[in-house]
């Protein structure tokens, strides 16, 4: 954010005029394209209110179905988020351990789960784990798959955050006579989590979206439900409602995810306005210092 004001001089009157002209031309172009798109859609009958009414018609069961599916999505995502965050933090600490017999296995676990496609991981949980005596259902398989994959990604984010905390913090804590665990849990992790909050939330948004991979094991979340509705109506009405149902699913995902990101921003601002933390965070923008070692959201 700080870079923005630094990258260019304030535009002068001439540049501002050029920008205004450019903006007007651009706006006309964009509006023209949107208009053309809408016209084509209307031409193909996609804007017919009767086709959109199905989304709000309780008699067709669509709003209830999408509502319950959204809850399913939120439920499995919430479980995955909590479990992955806790395990990710533990793994990050383990990977920074001084004991090689902790560090090596933790590294192997993290690298493996980061490298395997989530889709394959979820299927594996559902099909293989029952053969070794772990009862599975679609929910457990999906939650477990999301947890395993995201804990690996989050552990890298936490690790980058811990490493980005100034050396002096650790040294000061040591000098106060804190034990290694105390240094980690009381000094390093809290600062790391705060610094990584934007990346952390971005990853949680990815997790929420990835819950849509539950279709492979038959967990009825939002996207699977939308697809089922498409199939169900397709059988009787052809593709009358296909476009509308997918638009609905996309809009719901965007609203939920934007809300999640906004909530994170509020939390971030709150923690930052706190005087004690502000003193730590102020010298350099946390979002900028973390980048070198950071694992971006994937």
């Amino acid at each position: 954010m700080s870079a923005q004001a630094v990258l260019f001089d304030l535009p002068g009157p001439k540049a501002r005029r050029r920008q205004r002209i450019g903006t007007a031309v651009g706006a006309v172009l964009v509006l023209g394209l949107v208009g053309l798109g809408l016209w084509r859609l209307a031409d193909n009958g996609q804007l017919d209110p009767a086709r959109w009414a199905v989304l709000f018609d309780p008699a067709a069961g669509v709003p209830q179905a999408l509502g319950e599916a959204l809850l399913n999505t939120l439920y499995v995502a919430a479980v995955g988020m909590v479990a992955a965050t806790v395990l990710g933090a533990l793994l990050a600490v383990g990977r920074l351990s001084h004991h090689i017999w902790v560090r090596i296995p933790v590294t192997v676990v993290v690298e493996f789960f980061r490298a395997v496609p989530l889709l394959v991981l979820i299927l594996f949980c559902l099909l293989f784990l029952p053969t070794v005596g772990l009862p599975m259902n679609p929910f457990r398989a999906l939650a477990l798959g999301l947890t395993l994959y995201n804990m690996a990604v989050l552990s890298e984010i936490f690790r980058a955050g811990i490493l980005s905390v100034d050396k002096g913090q650790r040294e000061a804590a040591m000098a106060l006579g804190m034990r290694k665990t105390q240094v980690m849990t009381l000094v390093l992790l809290p600062q790391a989590v705060r610094r990584m909050l934007p990346v952390l939330v971005a990853q949680l948004v990815v997790l929420l979206k990835d819950s849509s991979l539950g279709f492979i094991v038959g967990y009825i979340e939002l996207l699977r439900q939308a697809r089922s509705l498409v199939e169900f109506f397709n059988f009787q009405f052809g593709n009358l409602y296909t476009f509308q149902l997918y638009v609905a699913a996309a809009v719901i995902y965007i609203v939920v995810n934007v809300a999640l990101s906004q909530a994170a921003k509020v939390i971030e601002r709150r923690t930052r306005s706190n005087a004690k933390t502000a003193a730590v965070a102020a010298p350099n923008d946390p979002t900028s210092t973390i980048t070198p070692g950071a694992a971006g959201p994937v």
Binding site: A3, L7, G22, I254
Partner: protein, 216 residues
């Protein structure tokens, strides 16, 4: 192991499809994402707004939905991609560009302000400041996050299975149906094929990261 030799053609072509999907859409995403990042830090407000809108839309939509709109949605606009493969490249490229943009932007933010200030003091304009001073440094710091985006992209290609592209996950579906009694083996082979792409990438990223890192 019999079934591997029986299906070697399918597995090999599926592997190549996955790889070429990832590489092509990766290039699209890299170029588009960098342009978007430049737009997001540019002096022109509408450009910033447009880029932000793009990024927020694609970052918050599941990839499957993006695929759906590029394959079936645009038909309602009387448009079509020449083939399903190009549609898949476009979907993956657009979606990943949003993540590339965020990674590059964080890299731009990580370049010390003094660099840009010095460039401006030398009389460089926005474009010159960005392309000759800031971006070259930014790219060095964003190697790890970009690498992660690449690995994620390689795995995200699996969504194309549902949209008429026979890549590794489509091969997985086909083989599990015809080899119901050897499912674990089928899985192992497919996972291995993904690991062949992702593990060396992870290793290469680490090497590049070490080579180009700027010690401050």
């Amino acid at each position: 192991m019999q079934f591997i030799s029986d299906n070697s053609d399918l597995l090999w072509s599926a592997f190549l499809t996955t790889l070429s999907l990832a590489v092509l859409s990766g290039l699209v995403a890299l170029v588009l994402g960098t342009v978007l990042a430049a737009m997001r830090v540019s002096p022109v407000l509408p450009l910033r707004g447009l880029a932000t809108f793009f990024v927020e839309t694609f970052r918050n939509t599941p990839l499957t939905v993006v695929f759906f709109f590029l394959v079936f949605g645009i038909v309602q606009l009387d448009l079509q991609f020449p083939s399903r493969f190009t549609a898949a490249v476009a979907a993956l490229g657009l979606y990943t560009a949003a993540f590339v943009c965020e990674a590059v932007r964080s890299g731009i933010n990580a370049v010390p302000p003094g660099q840009a200030e010095a460039a401006r003091a030398l009389g460089l304009g926005f474009g010159q400041t960005l392309t000759t001073v800031v971006l070259p440094q930014a790219f060095r710091t964003v190697v790890p996050p970009l690498g992660n985006v690449w690995i994620a992209l390689a795995k995200n290609t699996s969504i194309a299975a549902g949209f008429a592209t026979t890549e590794l996950t489509a091969a997985l579906q086909r083989l599990t149906n015809s080899n119901g009694n050897q499912i674990l083996l089928v899985f192992a082979v497919i996972v291995l094929a993904y690991l062949v792409i992702t593990l060396p990438s992870a290793w290469a990223i680490r090497v590049i990261e070490r080579k180009v890192a700027i010690i401050r």
